[in-house]
């Protein structure tokens, strides 16, 4: 529940003051579902990841989750799949985590070069102009 509360705070604080508006019940439910699904998949990754690598994987995923980048995929899964058969690779960011966990180097390199960097470059380009 704490994660849900933190996400509400982060979402609120990430908006400029004049654009902030109170969270509605409908939006809160979406955030809550995303948090639930995120923790569900994080537990799955923890089961397959080597113990010494899990912290780094979790760090990467948290950065993306905090920014709301995982929400569309997570919410799509929540509405279209059941937990027992949920496909962890349906969330693009988790594919990298699974690749790291299972040591699939082909997958890992592909995502390092194409997906992961591209995501962060796009966010950097959004935030850096504000910083100048």
């Amino acid at each position: 529940m704490n994660l849900y509360l933190q996400r509400l705070v982060i979402d609120h604080d990430s908006h400029p003051q004049q654009l902030r508006k109170p969270v509605s019940f409908k939006d809160a439910v979406k955030v809550h579902q995303a948090c639930g699904a995120y923790l569900f998949f994080l537990a799955k990754i923890q089961q397959i990841a080597p113990e010494n690598q899990f912290e780094a994987i979790r760090t990467d995923l948290f950065i993306q989750f905090k920014a709301g980048l995982l929400d569309p995929d997570l919410l799509h899964i929540v509405e279209s799949q059941v937990p027992a058969n949920a496909d962890i690779k349906a969330v693009s960011a988790f594919r990298l985590a699974v690749a790291k966990s299972t040591g699939d180097m082909t997958y890992l390199l592909y995502f390092l070069q194409h997906s992961f960097d591209a995501q962060f470059e796009s966010w950097t380009s959004i935030f850096f102009p504000l910083a100048k």
Binding site: M1, N2, L3, Y4, L5, Q6, R7, L8, V9, I10, H12, D13, S14, P16, Q17, R20, K21, P22, V23, S24, F25, A28, V29, H32, Q33, C35, G36, A37, L39, F40, T59, F62, I63, K66, A67, V78, E79, S80, V82, P83, F127, F128, L130, A131, K132
Partner: protein, 101 residues
Amino acid sequence: MAKAFNIGKAESDALFALSNDVSQSVCAELEKLVTTRGMAKFLNHDVIGKGTFSTGWTSGFGLAESWAEPCTNLVQDSTLATWVETQFAFVFQPKGLDMEK
């Protein structure tokens, strides 16, 4: 409760939830957040009144019904969120924006 305190239904539902269903740690955290950010710009009363912070509440309904269990509020607080806040607070605090206001 709404009549007793002369408040609206949404407010009274929120008050009822806070006094009966929400854990003390979450109540304290909400109080702190609302004090610094203001209720009007942070949360609708519905969000509290309909139970999203209540222990045992689940967002797994409608199309997400099968996710009721993973999406249920537990009593235990997750340490993950606190960890996130300390480690990655910079992510949403670019220079040039006063995030404290």
